[in-house]
């Protein structure tokens, strides 16, 4: 059977020093990782940094890539973890980390307004779209990653579970809670 995925084959070539193969991998995935990072972090500059760091780590760790695993799962794992780390670094204040009493796992930091959607963009975007994005921003980090990977990056629950190294049941729980969180927040406009 010669049905090795193209990206696995490229990774194998890149591992042996083939720069052009690595450039192909960049072409295949840089958009996706950028989308992921921007949706997680809502900041273009940080998203670009994440993308660059992700590919750098891929390059430096090609030796450790296990071909039994999908390449997409591996690169999404690196990218998502970098985003989650970056989100954590935004919370310097302990008191901001304290959970609010609404029992949803929210902290006060997530109530601060989002960085992105410039005034110009806001004019163009429908109010609904603005609200949806702002609400996703307020999702607790744990649910945010799962919701974005599922709905916006189109990963299956199995793929998300492998990328985040968590059982599928945990992923499902987080997805369900994320859904309920969003439904409640947006109830007025649904």
């Amino acid at each position: 059977m010669n049905s090795i995925a193209i990206d696995t084959r490229l990774a194998r070539l890149a591992k042996s020093g083939d720069r052009a193969a690595f450039a192909e991998l960049v072409e295949l995935y840089n958009d996706k990782i950028y989308h992921l990072a921007y949706r997680m972090l809502r900041n273009r500059h940080e998203a670009e940094e994440i993308v660059q760091e992700t590919f750098l780590r891929v390059y430096m760790n090609l030796d450790k890539y296990d071909e039994q695993q999908k390449f997409s799962t591996w690169i999404y794992r690196i990218g998502t973890n970098l985003c989650i780390d970056r989100l954590r670094k935004r919370k310097p204040n302990y008191s901001l980390d304290a959970e609010m009493s609404d029992g949803d796992g929210n902290d006060w930091y997530s109530t601060l307004p989002s960085e992105e959607d410039t005034p110009a963009e806001q004019l163009v975007l429908s109010e609904t779209q603005q609200q949806i994005r702002a609400t996703i921003d307020t999702l607790p980090d744990k649910y945010k990653a799962v919701v974005i990977l599922r709905y916006l990056q189109d990963l299956s629950l199995q793929e998300i579970s492998e990328a985040l190294s968590m059982p599928v049941t945990t992923i499902k729980t987080r997805l369900h809670r994320g859904r309920e969180f969003l439904r409640k927040k947006l109830e007025q406009i649904l």
């Binding site: 690595f22 960049v26 840089n30 989308h35 670009e48 390059y59 369900h176 859904r179």
Partner: protein, 202 residues
């Protein structure tokens, strides 16, 4: 089914994991419960709204910036090959050591060597081992690096390694005669000898 039981099923349905039996139960509950119908509609709308978020535009030079930020390509030194193939490296070293020790053992025996349980009757002239006419050797005889000349009786096997055997018409050998010349069969012979010794120890 009450709403509390129905809610997880709604989520399973949205995950695409709802099994047939539960789907039927859920369908029935939804037919009777406006609250859950509304909830399902809200979930579906949330999903649609999320998925309507258009893909953010990626900077055009992103790919080239990434390539430029990579460390320069360098020729991998030989020791990284060793690190990546530990099993083969160990096997190669092992084989080299084994080959060297076999080679030295093989070389060692340029001298005549004679082995046997009963050597009383055996005569040695130069590098020829002789079983004289009329004499009997009970047991096996092994000669290495020399000639074996049999004129008498041997009640056992003869093994000649790296040499030759000559039998006179008066010779009588009750066992087998083996001549070994190549290194491989010598190795095989040694292995058999080892097993023979092991079984003798029992």
């Amino acid at each position: 089914m009450d709403c509390k039981e129905a809610l997880p099923l709604l989520h399973e349905y949205l995950d695409g994991d709802l099994q047939q039996v539960e789907a039927a139960k859920l369908k029935q509950h939804l037919a009777e419960c406006a609250g859950c119908r509304k909830r399902l509609a809200q979930f579906e709308k949330v999903e649609a709204l999320i998925q309507a978020w258009p893909k953010p535009e990626v900077p055009a030079d992103m790919a080239s910036r990434i390539m430029q930020s990579l460390p320069p390509a360098r020729r991998k030194p030989w020791y990284s090959w060793v690190r990546r193939h530990p099993a083969i490296s160990v096997a190669v070293v092992f084989l080299m050591v084994m080959a060297a020790s076999f080679a030295s053992l093989w070389d060692e025996d340029k001298e005549l060597m004679l082995k046997g349980d009963d050597l009383q009757a055996v005569v040695i002239e130069g590098n020829t081992v002789i079983v004289p006419e009329g004499k009997t050797v009970t047991g096996d005889l092994t000669v290495k690096g020399g000639k074996l000349q049999v004129e008498g009786d041997v009640q056992g096997n003869l093994v000649v390694i790296d040499g030759s055997v000559v039998m006179a018409s008066t010779a009588h050998i009750s066992g087998q005669v083996k001549t070994i010349d190549e290194a491989f069969s010598w190795v095989w012979f040694k292995v058999n000898e080892l097993f023979g010794q092991l079984s003798n120890w029992q």
